[in-house]
Symmetry: C2
Subunit: 273 residues, 2 copies
Amino acid sequence: MNCLRTRVNYRDADSVTIYDRGLQFGDGLFETIAVREELPLLWLLHWARLQRGCGLLGIQPPEEQRLTEEIKSLCQGVDKGIVKLVLTRGNSSRGYALDKKALPNLVLYLFSWPENIEARRAQGAHLRLCRTRLASGSFLAGVKHLNRLEQVLAKAELAGEQEEGLMLNTAGDVVEGVSTNVFALIGDRLQTPDLSGCGVQGVMREHILMSAPELGIDVRITTLTPGDLIRAHEVFLTNSIIGIWPVKQFQQTVYAPGLVTERLTEHLRQSYC
Amino acid sequence: MNCLRTRVNYRDADSVTIYDRGLQFGDGLFETIAVREELPLLWLLHWARLQRGCGLLGIQPPEEQRLTEEIKSLCQGVDKGIVKLVLTRGNSSRGYALDKKALPNLVLYLFSWPENIEARRAQGAHLRLCRTRLASGSFLAGVKHLNRLEQVLAKAELAGEQEEGLMLNTAGDVVEGVSTNVFALIGDRLQTPDLSGCGVQGVMREHILMSAPELGIDVRITTLTPGDLIRAHEVFLTNSIIGIWPVKQFQQTVYAPGLVTERLTEHLRQSYC
């Protein structure tokens, strides 16, 4: 995967000052956006989440029109690609105290589309239980912020690109995959974990939560245990890049291709990638 | 507070690449070191903590002699100052996966000594209970890593330099101050919270834990509630810059200057600042 172009504060650049609070404290947010035919997909959901995150962290959000134009310009001529956006609180001296006059720093990366994504999706994921747990009770739950050490260490437990790690909270309930959200079909109900204690509210998760009812699929946000996944008929993972990634195997349990996963995938294909 | 000099990977520089994982994920560690008469104080404790953090995160630690020489050279001619060290896992492309060949990035900042530190210490701290809680159950507990959003948001609750925020875990027990550790004298026993669930193991806390027994002061690591602090005869805060910071007031409780705090401060003054 190559980085084709980078922008810092609306200019071609590939570095930030060491006073940036993203570097100093992980004090910021990020978004990873799929690009198709010059368009940032699910942009409204990404933008809404970025704004929510800014509100929670007290970071000044970018001016919408300027950001939209910047991203549009970055996507020009891109048939398939990925835009990563990092927004930090800006610069400050030593210490946690905010410089209220500081302006946020906006970093944009345009990456080429990873060639193996479609193959990984077709082959299905091997889901493995991670030892690394997500600390819960954070009021930062749901936010796609830059404090990602738990995910970094969970990812380091995995081997190979067909593996995804299942992350539990400290109570032992399922939260999410390392870089995906989790859905399980149990009986005739599609279920996905409640993220009010920890985890990232993926835009693709949101998209599925909105789309499923349109297809007559009953979907609920609930508490799920690893045992629930073993009992499930279908399990799939979602994020904005891979879309819907069927789980082929979780621990010793092997899943046959499932009808609900297929219908949602087909629905997504029509509207997405 | 001014930054007098900065070094990135052993060269004069003041920026990092936007591929740095400190920026992308808070994937790294930091240390804040007081400098007196050209010497980095408590250096062995800082170095030991940095090595422990590297071990837990799987980051390659800097070569000891090279780092020591680099810091020594940075401190040359400095009567009083602060060195901040940031060590990140290095650079990588998009995504949590580690590039195992990546070398860590080392960032050093030399700051002038904040002129108000002695006055703040003499005046005593006003300790306020923060709404922002520390998520517990993290195996990253104790490590001085770069995922510091909880501290950033807690700090934003405070007003003025005489205030420090008291941070509780989700169970409601005392963990630490926003950028300090907490000690309370209850009866004739000095107590400081257990940090196995969350919090930062400050080097000054370690120094006090080692020094107190030498002075015949009984010191224990334990569970403390806000109520315990209200019942305490003396409360003080510690970090590597302010040293020992007596608490003058916590919520409605006002503390008189205390003998144990004074003895430890005098002991520290002889060996430290």
